[in-house]
Homo-oligomer: 218 residues x 2
Amino acid sequence: MRIAVLGTGVVGRTIATKLVQLGHDVTVGSRSQLNPAADAWKFPGGRSAAFDTFAGAAAAGDLIFNCTNGAATLTALDMAGPRNFDGKVLVDVANPLDFSTGSLRLIYCNGDSLGERIQAALPDTKVVKALNTVTAPVMVDAGRVPGDHVLPICGNDEEAKQAVRDLVACFGWDQRRIVDLGDITAARAQEAHLFMWLALADALDTYEFNFGLAVRSK
Amino acid sequence: MRIAVLGTGVVGRTIATKLVQLGHDVTVGSRSQLNPAADAWKFPGGRSAAFDTFAGAAAAGDLIFNCTNGAATLTALDMAGPRNFDGKVLVDVANPLDFSTGSLRLIYCNGDSLGERIQAALPDTKVVKALNTVTAPVMVDAGRVPGDHVLPICGNDEEAKQAVRDLVACFGWDQRRIVDLGDITAARAQEAHLFMWLALADALDTYEFNFGLAVRSK
């Protein structure tokens, strides 16, 4: 599949590397096509991704991962050219984190979310919020964490959610691990999970964890 | 133990009933001592709680559960008389929920929490946030939900947290299930969990669930 990965931070590099390993035709987009971080990036096995601007990458992908910094996502998507997303699936992995006060805040929160902002900015795009609730190495390899932990996803388009389910199955997230939280307003829950996620990471002294579900039988 | 339960909603009734069953000397506090809801309340086994005003109950308890509506908690604690809490452990079970817009919002959120507001209002009280992350029947009976699900707690005072651990052990929350998230600022995480909790409740079509932890070994 022709896949664009927007963002060259840890999340973008981790996802792009995995997609290349899986044999996809990957274009990585960043603010500038001449990106020293991207140039220094070593892909395993001799294969590589193409590198382009946000706009070039978005145009090249049939499915697009948003791995930009959540604080800069809306600007990055605007730079990428909204038309380049029309009719496509956008997997929003970003969290709108703000540590400027010394503790975690979310830029959009409490009745708002980045996922919804993206969907509003790109009304002809099928936005699916996914993978934002785990650390990057676990995103692309669910088996790094033992047990029946789960991946919440949400979005307005059922076919788009199915496409994302199929794709993340190759990251180890088989269908029974995926919890569909409904439409894109559930991005509020997935992003607000960062408060609990970070508190648990501190308590557990690791980022390599996830939550599972225990449910009473009816 | 002499325990006060402030609030006569589902959470207060559930916790007070369980504490009476466990043999504690329970005083339930409400806005008015003449409370039709409380009068109609049937305790199992012929034992009962005493009923009093918020102030009378707080004065009678050595340990106090805040089970008031989170939107009204600070007013209720003021009515109860801050002096009645001095030196005591206050277990804050409340969530500052606001459904006035039709979807969930939190009155204190994103760098703030009810738990912190209570601690600030009652500086000589040892506030422990606990049990707010599960539905009432599960609060007092962890075994209603199968599996190794967990209970986050937080607070500034280690002895107070240990007292709460000991008490909730009698609700089925044995020590390995309890995750200490640190000081009372982690109430931000425990309260913001309500966004994910409610989304999961919708997806699972039940309130009788909880989350467990899956952690990669180091």
